[in-house]
């Protein structure tokens, strides 16, 4: 299952989808991907930064939504403290 996680004051919120079902055109899986993409764009517009997180590899920043990524984590906008 692929995941989009958004860090927030409630902990993280998650949208999940099955990549294999997406390839087969499953309507529920496609809807989940569309929802994840909408959240991704909404958070980016608010100044969030997105990273692809892969086990045992350094995080990689992405600027466009990648439905093939195993896990994307979005960090809220940051500032100097």
């Amino acid at each position: 299952m692929a995941k989009l996680r958004v860090l927030s004051s409630r902990g993280d919120t998650v949208v999940e989808w099955d990549e294999k079902k997406v390839e087969l055109g499953d309507p529920d899986a496609l809807a989940a991907v569309r929802e994840a993409e909408r959240i991704f764009e909404e958070q980016r517009a608010r100044g969030a930064t997105a990273f692809v997180v892969t086990p045992d590899k350094p995080a990689q920043r992405i600027d466009t939504f990648d439905p093939q990524a195993e896990q994307v984590v979005m960090v809220p906008r940051v500032a100097g403290g």
């Binding site: 860090l7 927030s8 004051s9 902990g11 906008r77 940051v78 500032a79 100097g80 403290g81």
Partner: protein
């Protein structure tokens, strides 16, 4: 009488010096854990958020990284672009210490605009350093190490 006055003044001066040292040794500008203000039940929500964040942190960090965080109170992240640089991310929200060749060179203060739990803050620093280091350094407020802790620096690059 004169001796008594002398000792009294000396004791007061000593107390004053100890007070000044105590104030200087405090971590400056320490970021306190923010809790979102809200109606009744907000504290329970915040606790649930802390637990979620902890579970996510445990899932994303390797066993070794998580153990280090628990034992030492910080997570070390190697700089992807600066050879001997290591960032120490504290277990609880605060300054990230920067070491080069084992020597502290500065402390950085970066925080989320939205209050997030401690576990998510650790993750935020790790992801930003690994995947967006230059931007992280550009945003951060910097503090220089001194004998008495870290003091604020004027903005500079790298």
């Amino acid at each position: 009488m004169t001796d008594l006055a002398f000792f009294l003044v000396a004791a007061l001066e000593l107390l004053f010096v100890l007070l000044i040292i105590g104030l200087l040794c405090r971590t400056p500008y320490r970021v306190l854990v923010q809790q979102p203000a809200g109606p009744l039940g907000a504290r329970q929500d915040w606790r649930a958020a802390q637990e979620r964040a902890e579970a996510l942190l445990q899932e994303i960090l390797t066993e070794e990284e998580y153990r280090q965080l628990e034992r030492r109170g910080y997570l070390e992240v190697r700089s992807p672009s600066r050879g001997h640089r290591v960032y120490r991310i504290p277990r609880h929200q605060g300054q990230v210490k920067v070491y080069e060749g084992g020597v502290p060179v500065m402390a950085l203060c970066v925080q989320s605009m939205e209050p997030i739990p401690d576990g998510d803050a650790v993750l935020m620093h790790k992801l930003m350093i690994e995947g967006n280091e230059d931007e992280y350094l550009r945003i951060a407020n910097r503090f220089e190490p001194t004998l008495y802790g870290f003091i604020a620096l004027r903005p500079r690059r790298n």
